[in-house]
């Protein structure tokens, strides 16, 4: 598994340098340079949204810093949560005087560091709330949704919460919207081939030449089953079946769907997958609104895809349509 990199120890910082050089709307900040924020700075009077997570998932997390989305993002090393200082910096830099929502994926390290950052900031009087992405249905039953991992569906929570904050909503309201968006999102992934951490000698997992893993996590965490590769339509069918068997309460008749590549999967294959997913949703009489197909949340060179459903009601639909702009997603 070859990589186009320099010293693994500089992987994250070099990639962040490239990212901010390529996209002037993003700026590096924080004591260790491990915060990405909107270059124009904080919008005073707006509720701030701080996210964060391990590196290796571009465009997530840093790529979604922008108008109508998130304000700041703390970045850890590859597959490691951001450290406490970066979380403190990200929260501070997101604060426009009306409090900060911490919105990130449900992983142990990320939670501990964002929690400790909140404790550090208590004295400064920055009000903080927390909403965790928990959309991966392969990581826990419907009775333990709060313990599920957060994966690609997090971007829907960014979108909804970002739109709410942009409209001037207060911290409670933005937090409510983010929690509602998370509750309305379900994702399942499938892995065909692993990635390798820049510092690791071996790939993060192994799959035989004809094997795939259903339900894999975005760090290669174990999934639901491993078995022979099958046609894309059969894979899409199982993913949709599982998603539709795990409907949120109050699910309506409209969804947005994200067919997401994990990094090394060509667009051609994502469209083949989307074609079938779309057919199955049509058959289920679910109206598809603003679909997304592409690499939105990756695991470096992992091969595979995920499918997310964002179950819409009028409120979420309006928030999904609200203008937003970051280097990797634009709604206008």
């Amino acid at each position: 598994m070859k990589k186009l990199i320099n010293d693994p120890a500089h992987y994250v910082d070099e990639a962040l340098d490239g990212l901010t050089l390529a996209f002037p709307s993003l700026a590096r900040d924080g004591a260790a340079g491990r915060v990405i924020r909107r270059a124009e700075g904080v919008t005073s009077g707006k509720v701030g949204i701080a996210s964060g997570g391990g590196f290796g998932h571009l465009p997530l997390f840093t790529g979604y810093v922008g108008r109508g989305l998130i304000d700041t993002c703390s970045i850890g090393n590859v597959f490691e949560g951001p450290n406490i200082d970066s979380c403190v910096d990200a929260i501070r830099l997101a604060d426009g005087g009306r409090g900060v929502l911490r919105l990130y994926g449900n992983y142990g390290g990320d939670r501990m560091n964002f929690d400790m950052a909140g404790e550090v900031l208590e004295d400064e009087g920055i009000r903080c709330t927390t909403v965790l992405g928990t959309d991966d249905i392969a990581s826990g039953g419907p009775d333990e949704i709060g313990r599920r991992r957060g994966v690609a569906g997090l971007i829907y929570a960014y979108k909804a919460a970002g739109a709410s904050a942009d409209r001037g909503a207060d911290l409670e309201e933005v937090t409510r919207v983010a929690a509602k968006a998370v509750a309305a999102t379900r994702t399942i992934g499938v892995g065909l081939a692993p990635c390798r951490l820049p510092s690791a000698a071996k790939p993060s997992f192994e799959l035989a030449e004809d094997e795939i893993e259903m339900g894999i996590g975005i760090h290669g965490e174990p999934g639901i089953w491993r078995d022979r590769l099958r046609p894309a339509d059969a894979i899409a069918d199982e993913m949709v079946d599982r998603l539709l068997a795990d409907l949120p309460a109050h699910a309506g008749s409209e969804v947005s769907v994200l067919v997401n590549g994990l990094g090394a999967t060509p667009l051609e294959e994502l469209f083949i997958l989307y074609r079938r997913v779309r057919k199955r949703l049509d058959d289920a009489r679910l109206n598809v609104f603003q679909p997304l197909v592409g690499n939105y949340v990756t695991s470096m060179e992992m091969q595979g895809a995920s499918v997310s459903l964002f179950h819409l009601d009028e409120e979420l639909k309006t928030l999904l349509c609200a203008p937003a702009e970051c280097p990797f997603w634009r709604v206008s």
Binding site: N77, A138, G140, S199, G220, P222
Partner: protein
């Protein structure tokens, strides 16, 4: 006998040296159940701790504080954060102490264990680093010097890793696939075991 800054600093540098040989082994153990980064993360964290000049600390509290801050800057991973934040707890706890003795080690480790439980919400028996830490805390109770503590710690980690191997992980990334973890060592526990052995060196020719 007094537990000295020098001894702690020595332990850190032994741990740092050991990481060279452990990094890929721990990555591989984590790859089976989690995301494959335990080894590289610990190599970086312990490297940063060794580079924080622990030997120059003025007190045991100070050395714990240095190590904690170095670790906290170096990672936000579950295990690294738990290690670093519990070291910060120990630093606070010993701030006013005039000296720390080897006899205090057991209760300090127990305090670290409790801090980690509070921060990470895991329980004993979940097959995490906690169970190994708990075993060592219990084993070194009553030991009054480096050699006794080392011997007891080594025995304890050998025991605990075997004891848990056949049990399922109930915390961390492996928690939802508990059955898959049966027969596999938890990477955090494995790391603690290996580092304990590196740190708790026995005097030459001892067994």
């Amino acid at each position: 006998m007094e537990l000295t800054v020098f001894q702690i600093a020595e332990g850190v540098s032994r741990a740092a040296r050991a990481m060279a040989g452990l990094e890929q082994e721990l990555n591989a153990a984590d790859a089976k159940l989690g995301d494959g980064d335990t080894g590289s993360m610990l190599a970086r964290v312990i490297g940063a701790m060794a580079a924080s000049e622990p030997q120059a600390a003025g007190s045991v509290s100070d050395v714990f504080g240095r190590l904690a801050r170095a670790g906290m800057s170096a990672t936000g991973s579950s295990l690294g954060t738990l290690f670093a934040s519990s070291l910060l707890g120990l630093s606070k706890q010993t701030r006013e102490w005039e000296r720390v003795d080897w006899e205090d080690l057991s209760s300090l480790l127990a305090a670290a264990r409790d801090g980690m439980m509070a921060r990470g919400n895991a329980k004993l028996g979940d097959k995490t680093v906690l169970d190994a830490l708990d075993a060592v805390a219990a084993a070194v109770a009553g030991e009054v010097d480096a050699e006794g503590a080392a011997r007891a710690a080594r025995e304890a980690v050998d025991r605990v890793i075997l004891e848990f191997r056949g049990r399922p992980c109930r915390m961390g990334r492996a928690k939802f696939f508990a059955e898959k973890s049966v027969g596999l060592d938890d990477p955090g526990m494995l790391a603690f075991v290996a580092l304990t052995k590196a740190v708790a060196e026995l005097p030459q020719n001892a067994t």
